[in-house]
Amino acid sequence: MIDGFIALYIFMLAAFTGYEVISRVPVILHTPLMSGSNFVHGIVLVGAMVAMGRADTPLELTIAFLGVVLAAGNAVGGYAVTERMLEMFKSSKGKR
């Protein structure tokens, strides 16, 4: 179980990691990278699944269903567009 200070440590280290990973990125990759990080928070899908798996009342189930639809859209759509953008980046191999 994650509690108290352990959670705080995870939060801090993850925050530094995100900052460090991005800080050395060339501007040419900003759009794909924003799209890539947009895909990464698609992990919200697993949370939406858990919430839906535990939903009881029709209201909860309806909201959770919507949540899973939206989360799947975030993950799949984020992947589709990021991959499309990145596959286009080519080098001119020694032409310069």
Partner: protein
């Protein structure tokens, strides 16, 4: 499988997924490894999603699978089809969906009374609030860039109204936390106000500032996901959400800086209010040039720097421009691309558009790399760019774009501007570059003029 075994397998899978996300993002930070980066992260996502089906004590599997199929297929189809020029608004749309999902998790958990303890309740409420704001805010950003909403709705005291809505949501949230759960009415009120806030916050913001806003909502969604991760005790969500939250915040700052705008300025005031005053037009006249002369100028140069802007992409001229580069290179002319951070609709968007046309990324230079080279360039070819090459940003303190870093195209020995007509740029500011003595205007459609230039250069 016992619940302990399943529990361990799930934790291990989430650990692997979190590691793959970070490694994937790391690989995405270099053009050489970027493609594999998204694949690594994708593998992590598939692993995490599949293992979640094994979570003990869950039901509704049929509906859950249906929901994943509906959302996934719709997003896949739209994501594969969208034109590269429309990429920014699609990112906004998918990001908004993530925010909505985080909000939905918070709503379900709060309605079910599953959230206990002051800290977890606070994080759950905050995550729900942020997620819901990001949801409607991103949808408005999408609608604006897609051209569905054309006006910027501004009225006096809009900041006060937004503040009141936020205060209302905060009170509802506080009641939920203090009463350890609150009533259904409190939860509904919290989310209704949060959804409304996303709309009223985003509507007044102009289209030019949208990239910064999209990036901000991306960071906020990450944060919301992390907070809901605390509620669900899910390490993968906490780590991935926090990484995106901090990375997105940094990216937002970089973008705002490149546009010479502070984040507060973007969010709390409208662009164009100072521009409306209208400074006196620049001195000099616009001097036109014909295609054959422009081709001769470039064909007999040693070095040409091309400055593309969003106008080039709108005219779908990037393929012809790349042909022009190849024709010039064949004659021994050194050609480079100079990209301003805000060329296109968000930083890096122009690079994507050029990459789509087949331009190798090592011919493309950003403002800091190439600005000193303009002085040695024989020709600077401006196509579809305007404000980012306007020298008044360096000289005229009264100009709204004063202080914005620009490309020093005016320092080149000759400047050729391909432009459809004589109008001002996105910000409505006259461009002093066009009136300089060594600037020539090549009027016409970007794609048609680029195609004519290719023929003319080949015929030299």
């Amino acid at each position: 499988m016992g619940s302990l075994g399943a529990g361990t397998a799930i934790q291990a899978s989430y650990f692997v997924a979190a590691a793959l996300f970070i490694l994937g993002l790391k690989r995405m930070s270099s053009p050489v490894t970027a493609r594999s980066g998204i694949v690594w992260a994708g593998v992590g996502m598939v692993v995490a999603t599949l293992i979640t089906f094994l979570t003990p004590g869950m039901g509704n599997y049929g509906l859950m699978t249906a929901a994943i199929a509906v959302g996934g297929i719709a997003a896949w189809v739209t994501g594969r089809r969208v034109a590269m020029t429309d990429m920014p608004q699609m990112i906004a749309l998918y990001n908004g969906m993530g925010g909505g999902a985080a909000g939905a998790i918070a709503a379900v958990e709060l309605l079910a009374g599953e959230v206990h303890g002051f800290t977890v309740l606070t994080l759950g409420v905050l995550g729900g609030l942020i997620g819901a704001v990001s949801f409607t805010g991103s949808l408005i950003a999408f609608a604006k860039l897609q051209g569905l909403v054309k006006r910027s709705f501004r009225f006096r005291g809009q900041n006060v109204v937004n503040l009141l809505i936020l205060a209302g949501a905060a009170v509802a949230g506080a009641v939920i936390v203090v009463q350890s759960g609150g009533t259904q009415g409190h939860v509904v009120l919290l989310f209704a106000l949060a959804l409304l806030l996303g709309i009223t916050m985003t509507l007044p913001i102009g289209g030019a500032d949208m990239p910064v806003v999209i990036s901000l909502y991306n960071a906020l969604t990450g944060l919301a996901v992390a907070f809901e991760g605390f509620v669900l005790n899910n390490a993968a969500m906490i780590i991935a959400g926090t990484v995106v939250g901090s990375a997105g915040t940094l990216l937002t700052q970089l973008m705002a800086k490149a546009m010479n705008r502070s984040l507060a300025n973007v969010l709390f005031s409208g662009f164009g209010e100072t521009a409306a005053g209208g400074a006196a037009g620049p001195a000099g006249t616009l001097k036109a040039i014909e295609t054959p002369d422009a081709a001769v100028m470039m064909g007999f140069s040693e070095k040409v720097i091309i400055v593309p802007g969003y106008g080039m992409a709108v005219a779908q001229a990037q393929h012809k421009v790349w042909e022009l580069v190849q024709a010039l290179t064949a004659r021994g002319v050194a050609v480079k691309f100079a990209i301003h951070p805000v060329a296109g609709r968000m930083p890096g968007h122009m690079n994507v558009l050029l990459a789509e046309a087949g331009v190798p990324y090592d011919l493309i230079y950003d403002e800091a790399e190439i600005n000193s080279e303009f002085e040695t360039a024989d020709v600077a070819l401006i196509i579809g760019a305007n404000d980012v090459v306007n020298p008044v940003a360096r000289t005229d303190k009264s100009s709204p774009i004063y202080g914005m870093p620009i490309l020093n195209a005016d320092k080149a020995k000759n400047v050729i501007v391909i432009k459809r007509g004589q109008g001002a740029g996105f910000s409505g500011i006259e461009n002093a570059l066009f009136y300089l003595d060594h600037t020539r205007m090549l009027y016409g459609d970007g794609q048609a003029k680029a195609a004519e230039l290719v023929q003319a250069v080949k015929a030299l």
